[in-house]
């Protein structure tokens, strides 16, 4: 089995990956906001 430090590193990597997935998924949902069409006629 790994040392305690080894497990700590694994835990940190898992946490970082989870945060990255979370941030990417939330950014994909954000969209442009309130958009005005202009000069289209």
């Amino acid at each position: 089995m790994m040392s305690a430090v080894g497990w700590l590193i694994v835990a940190i990597i898992v946490l970082v990956v989870a945060v990255v997935i979370f941030v990417i998924a939330r950014r994909r949902r954000r969209g442009g906001g309130v958009i005005a069409t202009r000069g289209k006629r």
Binding site: A25, G32, V34
Partner: protein
């Protein structure tokens, strides 16, 4: 006395079908036509915390009602493929975000910069006012006529709008009818 909500409050609302009682999507972007004074449509996300974008869009004609807790459509066929939707709904110009645009009276006075739209609760997308960061500082709400002129990056409003800058949505709700009566509109 009108019940009002902002376009930002609409973003993220569930889109619910009247006939099926299902939350079929979530509101992503609110697309607005300043000349018509109305929403033209909405883009959508899928429901779910990390779910992505939904391909279908919702033209304003298919909105049954916009409420404080949900945006109602009759059934899922109200959500259409971009190819079947009007072009300004299917491909909104996302760089033309109205937030940040200057509001000018016809006489050339700046009333502030737009921070949000104000809509009538229960309607299908009538925009009755703007939320602005006032030129002198602080937040205000101004009523809009049914239609207004736009040019470049400024939105032009009638001169008497200057008399109707309100402090909150409740004040705006009370002001809209009087404002429109003063303009001679219904």
């Amino acid at each position: 006395m009108k019940l009002l909500m902002t376009a930002s409050q609409i973003r993220g609302l569930p889109v619910v079908t009247v006939r099926e009682g299902e939350d079929v999507a979530e509101v992503r972007d609110v697309i607005y036509d300043p000349e018509a004074g109305r929403l033209v449509g909405l883009s959508l996300n899928q429901r779910g915390f990390l779910a992505g974008r939904r391909r279908e869009v919702l033209p304003a004609e298919s909105i049954h009602a916009i409420g404080q807790d949900a945006l109602m459509v009759l059934d899922e066929s109200s959500l259409v493929a971009p190819a079947d939707a009007p072009d300004d709904v299917a491909h909104p110009a996302t760089e033309r975000n109205v937030v940040g645009d200057d509001v000018l009276t016809e006489g050339g006075t700046s009333l502030g910069k737009v921070t949000d739209l104000v809509l009538l609760v229960g309607s299908t997308g009538d925009v009755v006012g703007y939320q602005v960061d006032k030129a002198g500082g602080g937040q205000g709400y101004i009523p809009l006529p049914a239609q207004l002129a736009i040019s470049g990056v400024a939105l032009v409003v009638p001169n008497i709008t200057e008399d109707f800058v309100e402090d909150d949505l409740v004040g705006l709700g009370a002001a809209v009818d009087e404002f429109r009566a003063r303009l001679g509109l219904s």
